[in-house]
């Protein structure tokens, strides 16, 4: 079964070679702004001149990265970012797929209402809720704590996770569920052993989304964290973003550094997007 699938894919790939003729120019155009971001991060403050239609700095140098590295305990901030992102991803994955399973396969009263209110959390703009969220964290004694941020991001990320994972649970034939029930499995076993592993493509999307949200947000940590030892990476760029910022090089260098782990997560996780349900169910 798997062997035929692989053979089929390589056959498809061979037939699709002409696609490169479309994809290569498109990818190059797509990358121009990204190259500019990297270019600006390599622009030394001593020479703001540019070349190649303004895309690249005239005299690239790594000086901005050196400055950023010397002025900040980057590794400490990165560790804090990890302590926020990893638990919140774990919570969203487990709690989100549990809820998605309940909404997709279990009997739940007021299912429509629950699903509808989920949407509310998707709508809330961060700047509109930061004051209220701060008060909640204060009331819970989670002010100036990474756990508070983990819980807040988990709550805000859940609706997205539930919607995506539920879609993928619904695509698993209902007969699979019935067969498992007949075999005497309880709800938790069906969820954890059958459904959860099958939702890998959806979980990959959720992981990427949640990493992006918890890794990149800066408003909530800015307001709720007061100790320097707790600050995540995203608060570093703020020091290079003053109102009279004339040389964006250092800012861009930090932001490139921050983006690298997210790209790494994407590269790691995206391979789960190639072997999903096909062939696995029968």
């Amino acid at each position: 079964m798997i062997a035929t699938a692989v053979r089929r894919r390589s056959r498809l790939a061979r037939r699709g070679r002409w696609l490169h003729a479309v994809l290569i120019p498109l990818a190059v155009l797509w990358m121009v702004p990204v190259i500019m971001v990297i270019g600006l991060s390599l622009m030394p403050s001593s020479n703001p001149e540019t070349t190649l239609f303004g895309i690249l700095p005239a005299q690239p140098s790594f000086s901005n990265y050196v400055i950023v590295w010397q002025q900040n305990p980057i590794l400490l901030h990165a560790a804090n970012s990890l302590l926020i992102a990893v638990p919140s991803v774990a919570i969203v994955i487990v709690v989100g797929s549990m809820a998605a399973f309940a909404l997709a396969r279990l009997r739940v009263p007021l299912r429509g209402l629950i699903f509808g209110t989920l949407i509310l959390a998707l709508v809330l703009p961060m700047s509109g809720i930061v004051v209220a969220t701060f008060k909640i964290l204060q009331a819970l004694g989670l002010y100036n704590s990474l756990l508070g941020l983990v819980l807040a991001y988990s709550a805000l990320g859940l609706p997205f996770a539930i919607i995506i994972i539920r879609t993928s649970f619904l695509a698993i034939p209902y007969e699979t569920y019935e067969a498992a029930v007949t075999d005497g499995a309880n709800a938790w076993q069906i969820f954890w052993r059958v459904y959860f592993p099958l939702a890998r493509p959806a979980l990959a999307v959720v992981v990427i989304w949640q990493v992006m949200m918890s890794w990149n947000d800066f408003l909530l940590p800015l307001v709720t964290l007061s100790s320097n030892e707790l600050k995540p990476l995203t608060l570093v760029p703020l020091a290079y973003r003053g109102i009279f910022l004339s040389q964006p090089g250092a800012l861009f260098a930090v932001l490139v550094l921050i983006s690298i782990p997210v790209v790494a997560v994407f590269l790691l996780v995206q391979r789960y997007l190639v072997n999903g349900l096909a062939g696995a169910i029968k």
Binding site: P33, G96, L103, I119, I129, A155, Q270, L277
Partner: protein, 296 residues
């Protein structure tokens, strides 16, 4: 009866952690905003209760109407191109093509970048005096490239939409890649045996089978459009003269620059109402199965 009850309890237990997190971090901010929307309040000193005055004022506010109009542009003009290009990219990159991983990463990276960086870079690209478009336009004779896209009130919102499409198409691609994994390959094999060409298979079989992916993207797209903030803020600050204002940028300006937290909360509440209403109308159009999970 008893089993039914027990089943209900099992279901609720699965939902409980999510509901708890939700009740704490989502419901209170909404209640807080609703209460603040009835006040004339600067966010710091004691506010005065004004009832529905803020709402009355809001619906006569020309800037609010511009923001509504911009949302109406934004929703179809981002969702459709992003979904279409994302779908085609996903189809192309789901067949084990050489360097698929590299392509996927390239198209997805814009979504990862901080909007601050995206804003500064695209401003440099579209600056009609010395930007990339202008320089390329001069070099190739395509003078229209050097247009005043961000500076012209008639085009500013479309320029931001353009950047948004660049930024988020990779995300739609990711969605469709995940969606394509849910399609049973035997269906496609069967179609091929029946003599369906690749175009027919795509249009008649793959596209309809991705219905739930389309709907998820539509739902997320509508909500994402309504709450668009950072990209607009860094690219145009809602200008020139509010021409590219969106509801969250206007709320931010009112709350923090004009010290009108009450009025800003009113905008947030209206935003929530619009989002819920449009989600509910989606349910009407596409059937209740999408929400309640009774599909299939």
């Amino acid at each position: 009866m008893r089993t039914k009850l027990r089943q209900n309890i099992t279901g609720l237990l699965f939902l409980l952690p999510a509901v708890v997190l939700f009740a704490v971090f989502v419901v209170y901010p909404i209640v807080y905003n609703m209460q603040a929307s009835t006040l004339d309040w600067d966010g710091v000193n004691a506010g005065t209760f004004v009832g529905f005055d803020n709402y009355v004022k809001l619906f006569q506010d020309p800037t609010f109407l511009i923001a509504l109009r911009n949302s109406a542009y934004w929703i179809p003009l981002t969702i459709i191109p992003q979904a279409l290009i994302g779908f085609l990219l996903a189809l192309a990159l789901n067949r084990g093509l050489f360097a698929s991983t590299v392509y996927r990463a390239i198209f997805f990276i814009p979504a990862i970048l901080s909007p601050v960086v995206v804003g500064i870079v695209w401003q440099r690209i579209m600056d009609p005096f010395n930007g990339v478009f202008t320089s390329v336009g001069k070099a190739t004779g395509l003078d229209w490239l050097g247009g005043n896209f961000l500076a012209n009130p008639q085009t500013a919102i479309f320029a931001v939409i353009f950047v948004n499409i660049w930024m988020w198409t990779g995300f739609s691609m990711l969605f469709y890649l995940a969606g394509l994994q849910l399609i049973d390959t035997s269906v496609l094999e069967a179609a091929k045996i029946d003599g369906a060409g690749p175009l027919q298979t795509t249009a008649r079989i793959i596209f309809p089978l991705l219905k739930s992916t389309h709907l998820s993207l539509l739902l997320l797209g509508i909500i994402g459009s309504l709450k668009t903030f950072e990209l607009v803020y860094v690219l145009t600050q809602g200008g020139p003269a509010h021409a590219s204002e969106m509801l969250p940028t206007y709320a931010f300006q009112q709350a923090f620059q004009l010290q009108s937290v009450g009025y800003a909360s009113t905008i947030s509440v209206v935003l929530i109402v619009i989002a819920v209403a449009s989600s509910l109308s989606m349910v009407r159009v596409f059937g209740a199965g999408f929400i309640s999970g009774d599909e299939k």
